[in-house]
Amino acid sequence: MTSRTRHFFPVIAFLAASFLYASLGTQAQTSSAQSSTSAHGERWLHVRVISTNSKGETVRVNVPLELAEKVLPAIDHDRLHNGKVRVGCMDCDGVDVRTVFEAVRSSKDGEFVTVQSNDADVSVMKKEGMLFVHVHDKNKPKHSQVEVKVPMKVVEALLSGSKDELDIVAGLHALAGQGDVELVSVKDDENTIRVWLDSKNVTTD
């Protein structure tokens, strides 16, 4: 009995060491494997706000699109339910937004709206599957520029929900299928704002 028990001790010691090594090693292996996967396969939405005021405020937000897609349906607050946001003006002043979008989508590339005034220049155009909105505000001391670039597929997905709803999750899903793209760029005398999509998990600008 004594000799048999003696034979067990190396086994117990080996098991204890293996368990300790496995518990510490597995965590390191898992994190390195996941890290490389997220760096190559994921799509990230970045928001950067840089203020040129005396405080020099800076905001940088990086969100994985897949995370946003999974988390949004879990939010049930105010107008946001099940990944869809209820908006009250999909039929603004008698203008049916869906019908207008459908007309734009089915038409050829071109500039649909051009407004030039002393206050601002506004243009809306469609080119190569993208909807561009450009606003040049002339009222501010340093003229402000707003440029919005949205893939048509994303707009289509946003409007795919029921009436008076924007399907945010569907929009994000459609966005994930796009290549690297700058979605919003705002430059004025106080702030520089950028919203863009790429596959990097840090803001490199």
Partner: protein
């Protein structure tokens, strides 16, 4: 002598196993340092694995109970975020500079790290995402049925 060796080996193996299990999920760490007023310093290090276990034994009372019930309805959201964030063990999520104030939220080695600094006070929190996942799932069960 052999008997003593056996006892020592058994004890050693038990300690190693217990230590490995206790720390296999990492450490929950909260550091608060005040440099103004009385300059309080709070540093808490807790093995993350014991937190979900301890929750089974803690009986919340009074305001703690109220806070737990109020927070319970947000727990499904916290649970969803923690579960998804585990897929991103190394990520910079939020960084805000506002004059002397600074906030940074990121993940590192599967931990959620929150660093907040303002004049006279710094707060650093590090918590394994797996622990947030476990605890939020536990607290979500306390939410009143709607």
């Amino acid at each position: 002598m052999v008997l003593l060796a056996k006892i020592a080996l058994g004890f050693g193996a038990t300690v190693v196993l217990a230590g490995a299990y206790t720390f296999h999920e990492g450490v929950l760490r909260v550091d608060v340092d005040e440099t103004h007023g009385r300059g309080q310093h709070v540093h808490v290090w807790v093995p993350a694995a014991i937190v979900p276990m301890a929750m089974h034994f803690v009986v919340p009372r009074g305001r703690m109970l109220e806070a737990e019930e109020r927070s319970a309805k947000f727990m499904p959201l916290v649970h969803a975020v923690a579960k998804e964030l585990q897929k991103y063990p190394e990520a910079e999520l939020v960084e805000v500079h506002d004059g002397p104030q600074y906030i940074r939220v990121r993940t590192h080695n599967g931990n959620l790290l929150i660093d907040a600094e303002e004049p006279g006070q710094t707060v650093h929190v590090s918590c394994p995402l797996a622990t947030i996942d476990d605890v939020s799932r536990e607290l979500a069960t306390l939410a009143p049925a709607s």
